[in-house]
Amino acid sequence: MDAESEVTTLILNGDFTNNCNLYRNYHKQFIRDGMVNAGAFAFEGGMSVDWDKYTSPDECIIRVGLTYKTGKTDFKNHSDFELLSLNVKDIKMIEGVSSINFTPIPKNQEEIGKPYNVSHSDVWFVDPELRLKFTYIANKIEVNREYIDKKVDEIKRRNEAIASAKKID
């Protein structure tokens, strides 16, 4: 871990304490030789993460399975996704991280392919090369695959039933 001094210019929009963890999901393609590579922390106008204060690791992967691929109407395959944990204290020590923002997606904005997410947050950093430093502070999180598969199927079926009922009405 970096022994850098804590960056005082980091802006926290949310009650993120040093004990908090942020979950980041990533595709299995970003694993090489058992290690996650820097591509897993791609900068897409902020790096999307989930705050552990409001979610569990299993729920993170469940949401992946309920999310459409960008610009498409087919769901992501949650079996291909893994989960990492980033400690807020460690993130604060990385020079160049400008802010951590709590940006929940409320339930009233939920729609099929875009599940609500009360834990959604963004990490903003200036240099994309800082992705390299994230690989050093990331810890892999194990999830209950069996439970996740069951839950994703259940919710999808329920959503389909609701959509069918709406059409009939």
């Binding site: 970096d2 022994a3 850098e4 595709h27 393609q29 970003f30 090489r32 030789d33 290690m35 590579n37 820097a38 591509g39 791609a42 897409e44 691929k69 960008t70 610009g71 992501k76 395959n77 291909d80 996704f81 020079e95 240099d127 994309p128 090369e129 800082l130 992705r131 390299l132 690989t135 050093y136």
Partner: protein
């Protein structure tokens, strides 16, 4: 001619011998007035390639010049009397040691990424452009060779990984140093954006370089990737 060789030999003894792989093998106290070649092997081995007087002369004149580092590290294409192409004098001097051997294996393994289709990250990832891949690999190869030519060691090979935006990461994660160079198109030009430090943020380096040639400041820093 022998006087000239003697002069250059003395100069080389104080400047180049530290990195000259053959220096310890030669008797530098030889009386060169009586010889038409630079020194002579102290113990001839089957592993040591005998260097003809003309080749030594060529090398010594070049090494005695005040030339830019970039010129030194680049190839001096020429043909030997046997018609064999010599692309680099250090390679010739080092028993045919290939500094890119390990990296070429990594490149071969990384070619899988050229088959990745759009959405390979389970979402909207772009495919990897073969030209970008080739240019990026060539660029890193040039730096590995440049370090080898400058310091006579081969830096560790990076891992090569695709990124969702279609760019390519070259990553070194070593005990003493780490570096990431990300190659991507910027206004129809390929640039390598790099960041590196000696862990704990010591001696950090960041910036970007085009892929057209070896830039000395980056090459010097990459010598930490030993």
């Amino acid at each position: 001619m022998s006087n000239q060789i003697l002069r250059l030999t003395k100069k080389d003894e104080s400047t180049d011998c530290a990195i000259h792989p053959f220096a310890p093998k030669y008797d530098l106290n030889e009386n060169y007035d009586d010889h038409q070649k630079f020194g002579r092997p102290i113990a001839e081995s089957t592993q040591i390639k005998f260097i003809s007087p003309s080749e030594v002369d060529y090398f010594k004149i070049r090494s005695g010049d005040k030339i830019e580092l970039f010129d030194r590290t680049k190839a001096f294409p020429r043909k030997s009397s046997k018609g064999k192409n010599y692309s680099d004098f250090w390679t010739t001097l080092s028993f045919g040691y290939k500094p890119l051997e390990a990296f070429n294996i990594v490149i071969e393994e990384a070619k899988y990424m050229l088959d990745l289709e759009e959405g390979w990250d389970g979402d909207i990832a772009s495919p990897i452009d073969p030209i970008l891949f080739n240019r990026a690999c060539k660029c890193i190869s040039d730096y590995i060779e440049a370090v080898y030519n400058d310091k006579f060691f081969v830096i560790q090979s990076p891992s090569i990984d695709p990124v969702g935006d279609g760019s390519i990461d070259f990553t070194w994660r070593l005990n003493n140093a780490r570096m990431l160079i990300n190659f991507k198109y910027v206004q129809n030009r390929i640039l390598g954006h790099y960041y590196g430090d000696l862990q704990n943020n010591e001696i950090p380096i960041k910036g970007n370089v085009p892929t057209d040639k070896v830039y000395e400041h980056l090459m010097k820093w990459m010598q930490n990737l030993k």
